[in-house]
């Protein structure tokens, strides 16, 4: 470098020479392809000015121009035109500064020296907010230039950080998943679950684009001086404004590092037709590639070949153990009190753990902070009601939602005494509270309760309940560091009461209690690194079953399984590292530790023998609080994204996870009475690893998103059960399960158009899920230890979700889904053995039920759009299973008249019409 330009020194030098001003010189020269260095030499020779410049910035310039007595300013203007270079000419000291982008000021502002002392005092703080105490609340000042940070007369090159919250301008509600970005150089961020964003940008002028689903996109002109805070507000998309195009997350598909993340806004969820017209979070998840279910009436879903218990379902950080009502016909999550859901299928952030397959994060919606609003929906079987509003205006709000069913009237209509004497009902309640203590501290509270109850005939009563509560304190320590402290409680319990025979009347019950505590931090180290770290602890207490006499006459022998408890703690650190504009890495590590705690009696088994009653050696009693067994290990969460072009990227990820709590189910579909079991000395934790690779391309300016992802997954110590296993009220359940290894692989293809009159997505998934018993001590191995398909192995799956908006008031939605029939085990004959007739079964899951196909159509009719009317209403009318196909759910075989006969059961045997009325006030 020939001459180093040091601004500060030059500036100081200037001060001393201020008195002797000179006229700018003139230049006469003819340049033909001259280098900048030659130009400088000529200028210095003719004018006596000295030029400071950076050769790196100018070495590509070629100058072709001729000047005849041209003033130096004109010369420089002409030469530097369209080069991005600026010049500053100081006639006093006869120097010229050539700089890139920012013009250098050759004089200091008034009062520079007097301010200096106070400014350097301020500089000791990590972040200086020029607007402190006077927040940049943007309402109608789009045309204004917003200044962020400590305003300085000159801007030193470098990066600065903007953070803030994005809210709905009308309701004050925080907006999740809104994007904030600039195009040159491309950089962006999205708001988190609490509406916060942080974005690192080069200092200087930018056009900041803010977008969110269903909101009007906005652009703000900003000048970024240094780190600062900028809170933004967006307005609801009003449909009349045709010109506004929703562009939410258009680039996210290509640019975000994480893979296999499916985000669904509640507005998108509402568009998908469902069985009773009730918007259903979990049903919509099933339309996404890689998410499957064994059938209509099952509570769970399977992600990329994982089993149902391998999904962590979080409602504001609290685990939901049974997310379904009425055997899975409805999801237990009220769509009116949630903001949206995120499903992580492959890159699972390091802050989550404890399940192998996926994390389904359900974000609660916070109430309107400005005015009281309500919503109600009435359907054939269910209705719901929500009310929300401020407690302290602009600072705290509540939202209270409830749903209930009145399905019994349908049962009464049936011409069958058994059905008429049966009843089924459910309800759920949600309360979400939020309070902003101050600019930096906010509190969030959610409480959730759901209950299902069924009475079969009039003597057997089944019921289950979820109870959850979460309290979260979020604190912004500085613009670089924010923390979240959460404590939550989850309880799931079920019971069966039967009093058909007074002598044998019983009450069976089961429950899980879980208490969580976690602290998570986000630290923005610098422009390239964002760190997330924290720790979490979960205490589990399970009552694995009690079987008690019911009523005075009952002679049932009371049997209570010993409770079990465990502690799961984890530490995590994740770095989001922008290596370059094109390459971003997410490097995460989680270390989990699990302690199985006393008091508990643990059975030990003879080694090398199949675990069974016959190989039990001893029972050891452990004292309360003692660590019976510890398991621990690291979990890797690595992903990378490389931008091949602004609209095309390739991503890869490697993940490993550990799971310490297992659901044991030996029925095909998950039923509410499946039991959960903690890892103990006999049952090892499950361990899963997944690698995935994907290609993402956006077309038509992000209007059409396409993605192709492939994955391979390995699961160790998955628990399968022995033939004829009895899981309920079993005192030695470890003898009934066998460690199994699993592998799953597949490819998922998706085309999505998220806006426009016609929108929706088409997905195709090819996937296989195979299991193999690899426990040397298992005794008889299922299918002779060969690989066999899991219950939810459905290789081909095609789903089409489409919406077409005819006008602002009418739209039609279509849901079309096809999949291969799931595997089943069939009896293939009978024989005589050991003195009795016995049924011969084929290999497990070696046959399949017929393929599945279903089409649903819904018509949405909005009331008029006059903004000033008191209530707004809408209708949803539709049909579920429009083709009336009898999709087989299960098959069973019964002995009738000496012969064994087969039956197949379809949950929905015909076309099911539905109607729903919604009102908003």
């Amino acid at each position: 470098m020939k001459r180093v330009l040091v601004c500060y020194i030059a500036c100081l030098a200037l001060l001393t020479a201020r008195a002797q001003e000179r006229q700018p010189g003139q230049l006469t020269a003819n340049f033909n392809g001259a280098s900048f260095e030659q130009f400088v030499q000529e200028v210095e020779k003719q004018t006596g000015y000295y030029i400071y410049y950076a050769p790196l910035q100018t070495d590509s310039l070629q100058i072709t121009a001729s000047f005849l007595n041209s003033p130096l300013t004109v010369v420089l203007e002409q030469v530097l035109q369209n080069t991005g270079l600026e010049f500053a000419l100081d006639p006093v000291s006869a120097v010229i500064f050539i700089s890139q982008g920012q013009k250098i000021s050759t004089s200091l502002p008034e009062g520079f020296f007097h301010q200096k002392a106070s400014q350097s005092a301020k500089e000791q703080q990590i972040v200086i907010d020029h607007f402190e105490g006077n927040t940049n609340r943007l309402r109608e000042k789009e045309d204004k230039v917003v200044e962020i940070g400590r305003k300085t007369p000159t801007i030193t090159p470098g990066m600065a950080r903007i953070s803030g919250q994005i809210r709905n301008a009308q309701s004050g509600e925080l907006i999740i998943g809104a994007t904030v970005q600039i195009d040159e150089p491309f950089s962006g961020a999205a708001t988190d679950a609490l509406g916060n964003y942080t974005l690192s940008l080069p200092k200087g002028r930018h056009i900041l684009k803010v977008r969110s689903v269903g909101m009007q996109s906005r652009e703000y002109r900003i000048i970024l001086y240094s780190d600062g805070r900028l809170d933004l507000e967006l307005r609801d998309q009003v449909d009349q404004l045709k010109a506004v195009v929703i562009q939410a997350n258009r680039e996210a598909n290509v640019t975000q590092t994480s893979m296999g993340v499916e985000k669904m806004d509640i507005r998108a969820i509402r568009k998908v037709p469902t069985v009773m017209g009730e918007p259903d979070v979990l049903r919509v998840m099933l339309t996404l590639p890689g998410v499957k279910t064994v059938g209509e009436a099952s509570t769970g879903f399977n992600v990329r070949g994982g089993s149902v218990d391998q999904n962590l379902i979080l409602f504001n950080e609290a685990t939901v153990y049974n997310p379904a009502h009425l055997f899975g016909f409805f999801s237990a999550i009220n769509s009116d009190v949630i903001e949206g859901v995120e499903l992580y299928k492959s890159s699972i952030p390091a802050r989550y753990g404890g399940r192998l397959s996926s994390v389904l994060k359900i974000s609660p919606r916070w109430g309107n902070k400005k005015k009281v609003e309500g919503k109600a929906g009435i359907g054939l079987l269910t209705s719901r009601f929500t009310i929300e509003g401020p407690i302290v205006k602009d600072r705290s709000s509540f939202i209270l939602g409830g749903r209930a069913t009145y399905s019994n009237w349908v049962l009464r209509l049936l011409d069958n005494a058994e059905f008429r004497n049966s009843s089924g009902s459910f309800h759920d309640l949600n309360l979400n509270l939020t309070h902003e203590l101050d600019q930096r501290n906010s509190l969030y509270l959610t409480a959730y309760y759901s209950k299902d109850q069924f009475k079969l005939r009039s003597d057997t009563l089944w019921g289950y309940e979820n109870k959850n509560a979460t309290l979260k304190w979020k604190r912004i320590f500085s613009n670089k560091l924010e923390g979240e402290f959460t404590t939550s409680f989850s309880r799931y319990n079920y019971g069966v009461n039967s009093d058909s025979e007074p002598i044998s009347a019983f009450a069976l019950s089961f429950d899980i209690n879980q208490v969580n505590g976690q602290a998570g931090f986000i630290y923005s180290l610098d422009a390239r690194h964002t760190l997330q770290f924290g720790l979490s602890a979960i205490h589990y207490k399970l009552k694995p079953g009690s079987f008690l006499p019911l009523g005075e006459q009952s002679e049932v022998r009371a049997d209570v399984l010993e409770p079990e408890q465990a502690l799961e703690t984890a530490l995590y650190l994740e770095d989001e590292f922008d290596v370059s504009d094109k390459l971003t890495l997410t490097l995460g590590l989680r270390y989990s530790l699990y302690n199985y705690l006393g008091p508990k009696q643990v059975i030990s088994y003879a080694s090398g023998l199949p675990r069974s009653e016959n190989s039990m050696l001893d029972t050891v009693a452990y004292a309360a609080g003692s660590f019976i067994k510890n398991y621990h290990g690291p979990e890797y969460r690595l992903s990378a994204r490389y931008l091949l072009s602004p609209t095309l990227s390739v991503k890869a990820s490697v993940n490993s996870l550990r799971q310490y709590i297992h659901m044991l189910s030996n029925t095909t579909a998950v039923s509410p009475t499946d039991i959960w079991k903690l890892s103990d000395p006999n049952i090892r934790p499950q361990f899963g690893q997944q690698v995935s690779l994907g290609l993402y391309k956006n077309f038509r300016n992000g209007l059409i998103e396409t993605s192709l992802e492939g994955y391979y997954k390995k699961i160790n110590d998955y628990l399968d059960y022995k033939g004829g296993a009895e899981l309920i009220m079993n005192h030695a359940i470890e003898a009934e399960v066998i460690n199994t290894e699993g592998k799953a692989y597949g490819a998922e293809f998706m085309v999505k158009k998220s806006s426009g009159k016609l929108n929706g997505w088409l997905s195709y998934t090819y996937s296989r899920t195979l299991l193999r018993m690899d426990d040397p001590n298992a005794g008889e191995l299922i299918n002779r230890g060969n690989w066999y398909p899991a219950n939810h192995d459905k290789p081909h799956d095609v789903t089409l979700i489409g919406n077409y908006r005819f006008s602002h008031r009418f739209s039609v939605s279509l849901n079309c889904t096809y999949s291969t029939g799931r595997p089943i085990t069939l009896p293939i004959g009978k024989y005589w053995y050991a003195g009795s007739e016995r049924v011969l079964y084929a290999d497990r899951n070696s046959y399949r039920i017929p393929d599945y196909f279903r089409t649903d159509i819904a018509l949405n009719i909005e009331g008029n759009h006059n903004l000033k009317q008191l209530t707004h209403n809408s209708w949803t009318i539709g049909v579920y299973n429009a083709t009336g196909r009898r999709n087989v759910y299960s098959t069973y075989f019964v002995s009738e008249g000496g012969a064994i006969k087969g039956y197949r059961l379809s949950i929905f045997g015909t076309i099911i019409p539905f109607i729903n009325y919604n009102i908003r006030f």
């Binding site: 349908v410 003879a606 022995k722 299922i782 949950i907």
Partner: protein, 371 residues
Amino acid sequence: MKKWWNFAALIGASLSVSSCVDPYEPEIITEAQNYLVIEGALNSGAPTELRLSRTVGLADPNTYSPERFAVVSVESDGGNMIYLTGNANGIYTAPDLDLNPAHRYRLRIQTNTSGEYLSDYVTLKPTPPIDSIHWVQTAEGVQLYVNTHDPLGSTRYYRWEYEETWEVRAPYRAEFEYVDRQIVPRDPIPPRLCWAQENSAQVLIGSSARLVRDVIFNQPLVFIPHTSWKLSQRYSLLAKQYALSREAFEYYQQLKKNTEETGSFFDPLPVELRGNIYSVNNAQEPVIGYFDAGSVQEQRIYIDGSEVNPWGYRVRCDIVMVSPDSLDFYFGGGTLQPLYKDDEGNYYGSENIDCYDCSAKANPVKPDFWE
């Protein structure tokens, strides 16, 4: 879990108000599966009996389809070969064999449809004698138990079968019968003393693998409910004890879970079962059964009705007195049978055949062993 299905169907039905259960006959079910089924063990020092049959379709009214005309042989790794002779019931037998315990044995079967089957080699596992069979009476009935032990500690896995035999007595002599509107002496008089028989129909297995000593104590064999006819006179149980290899034990355990421990409220899904006999021609062909070799130990006990007094079973006879002028009215229908008469010429009859003829339900021939 059928109740869940039912309830799920119920919900479905309530939503659609239509029936959702259809007959289901997948192709594989209508297809006649006739895999070979082999039951029995090679015995040293006692007759060997193997039962060969075929599986039948689920809809088939027959449950037992014997495999006839097969060539069944046992070969040792010492080169010896023993042929078994079969009968029409598919039972292949060999007389008392004196087998060399140093050798291993396997089963070879050639069916008349030229299928060839071969078992794994198995070793002879001697069975220790039964220590005792004893019983305990409670208000519900009588439970019989078996006790055994192996001082060498090498048996560990056991299987039992039993044969029950009991005396059946008709309380009345039927001296008369009503023929052609006449009371005539009955000849021959129907048998009043018979014996009924029943074999175990459950897989009975036990293990001492978790104990220090190889002892089986109070292994339940059979339970006789208080109201059963088996103990109304005299009862005998012959218990047969077989030592099992660990593999055979696991096979029986699985068989038991698969076919006996289902049908309850929470039905587990079944698993497929594989034994140690394979098709030579087609390795994929399922063959049912487990071939094991050893010896059998037997013990018989008797329980007399007087030992379990008061027993809860009695033949209900409801004796009807018929005066001589109403004979045709009562006996003409054929359901009421005259049994005896009194000095005044009244006849006494019963409608219950068990009151005078035990051969209706049992065999009047006294078994050879009966004491």
